[in-house]
Subunit: 390 residues, 2 copies
Amino acid sequence: MTPTFPADELAERLRRVRERMAAQGLDWLVVTDPANMHYVTGYDGWSFYTPQCVVVPLDGDLALLTRGMDANGARLTTTLGDDRIFGFPDEFVQQPDRHPMDWIAGVLRDRLGVRGTVGLEMDSYYFTPRAYEALKAGLSGARTTDSQQLVNWVRAVKSDRELELMRAAARIVERVLATALEAVDPGVRQCDAVAAISATGIRGTEDAGGDYTAFVPMLPTGPGTSTPHLTWSDAPFKHGEATILELAGCHRRYHCPLARTVFLGDPPSKLADTAKVTVEGLETALAAVRPGVTCEEVEGAWRRHIAAHGLEKASRIGYSVGAAYPPDWGEHTMSLRPGDRTPLQPNMTFHMIVGMWMDDWGFETSETFLVTETGAECLARFPRELAVKP
Amino acid sequence: MTPTFPADELAERLRRVRERMAAQGLDWLVVTDPANMHYVTGYDGWSFYTPQCVVVPLDGDLALLTRGMDANGARLTTTLGDDRIFGFPDEFVQQPDRHPMDWIAGVLRDRLGVRGTVGLEMDSYYFTPRAYEALKAGLSGARTTDSQQLVNWVRAVKSDRELELMRAAARIVERVLATALEAVDPGVRQCDAVAAISATGIRGTEDAGGDYTAFVPMLPTGPGTSTPHLTWSDAPFKHGEATILELAGCHRRYHCPLARTVFLGDPPSKLADTAKVTVEGLETALAAVRPGVTCEEVEGAWRRHIAAHGLEKASRIGYSVGAAYPPDWGEHTMSLRPGDRTPLQPNMTFHMIVGMWMDDWGFETSETFLVTETGAECLARFPRELAVKP
């Protein structure tokens, strides 16, 4: 497999990670978030269902520790030397009386010499309390501390190569949305529509194959549109109902999400009116984007616009986005909401999603945008309005 | 949406959960594993990317706590009363200075009266160390303890309704494997084959639509067959190489996994010979299955067979399987391996997977089986041998 990133890009990432480690007083960093492990090594495999990590010293070589059977996966997808890949014995998997992190902590302590102040990703998926306690007990000579979202923050500003991957994902999601709008029809089973949607996304384009997305297709329909994260069933779509489509294109783990809403029939005026104001609000917020403007200022532009039309929304309208593994394509750093005073920088990327969930109906639309020197560039091109199939 | 399970089945599940709670001395149980949340309430949504839980008192009503925008999803997919569903404010999502579990702990303590001995799922996906510390700090009047795999163990023995869903998933995976064997061909892009595979799985059958699987299709090819958990790229399959297909059918969250291996061309004798012994070993192990036999005895039958042919395998050959959410369809209870002395019982279900991963090649085959009164019933019917496409 061709490496996704050249060696100098990986080196530059590591340099930026270490800069932050030094600033936070960390001697070592234990990376457990699969997207962060991918970011610092290129490692790519569905092995995060058993404990694993990449260990980053302030100086010296990285090491990757995973289940024994997955060690070859690390050999095939990274440039780490054989002696920097450690596979734990299978007898540690899912046992009541021992834990893979017991074994991993032993290697960290005795073979890699991990000591001093060690940063842990205390809120990363797939790092459990039991894993944490085993690691802490095994690293008795070290002081552990929350690294917070150290690597996630490094990921916030994208390289040209990363943007190339996200643009490829944007081409994919345009096809995915077109497939979805064609497939959703009265009497069609939801699962049959999602089969078509998924096939288009995974096929991708001629130049860039599709990868699995960090969310499966979100497809709430009818009264389900009052909430965003329902998936599908084998019941048919109905005339006179709306369906929310929160989908994404993904290429080599890089995502371009995009949400739209479709109505089968003649939409009620409350939905049509809300859709109109929501799309305008999204466009108003996009127009507010430029370097130096803060996340909360972008959200403020949206908030003021919809308030003028008697609407409000309690939840954030977006978040930083990029490379990801299930269950989330967000990067867990910046959010477009009140209180987030992070200034935007060129080459940051966000998914701005304005979801209006009411008692028993709702509307969503979204854009994935790049912060340029002068404003926001939406990566995908697709009509934002409520789609209506009479 | 028709409820997947009748009320009396949910009541019986809860009775069995409480029986174990009493035996383990628990006054309350905080369920964070999405499959366990689904098991005790029927809740189904992709909301596990932010913290959530179901709280089970030894007596009294359950409660479900999730992100505000997902509360309607709980109203739509469970029979919990409105006053038993709590949505946390969005300002708690992904913040450095507060955590959703701060809010959740407050509700548990002040509104639900959680005290005494509280069981936590210390090794469940999506329950992080930071969430744990917030919960523990907030439940200052309670003593927390690891509930271990309490609900998972209750799930081990399936009801007739659950087996009906798994049989539907078996019909789906038969189609999925057939699609895969047809799609994998020299020059075909891996992503194009997976597009076809995924579409077949999500479409399902006329009677039972497909759901998303807890693993995406595993499709290591060429030297990648030396390791099990690589996904796909947009490179083409090559003549003269093997591809491992670890796939599943899924219906309403219930899985029937099935793995096979296909060779494009004339397979080398080492692969053909290993495949033959491996399939025989699988069949020997299946023949050893009956109620009262232990997990390690089943594995022993496999181990002795392959040892007689000069082979060995360091990792377990199977695990309990059923309802699941990403990233794993295993139930994290029983494993078919040395040291697991759990006796088999009727209506337990396992995925027996014999993967032989060598230096730069490998072979896998598997069966999902039900323990009957007299032996093992394989749920799917599909030839087990190395598939060869000359």
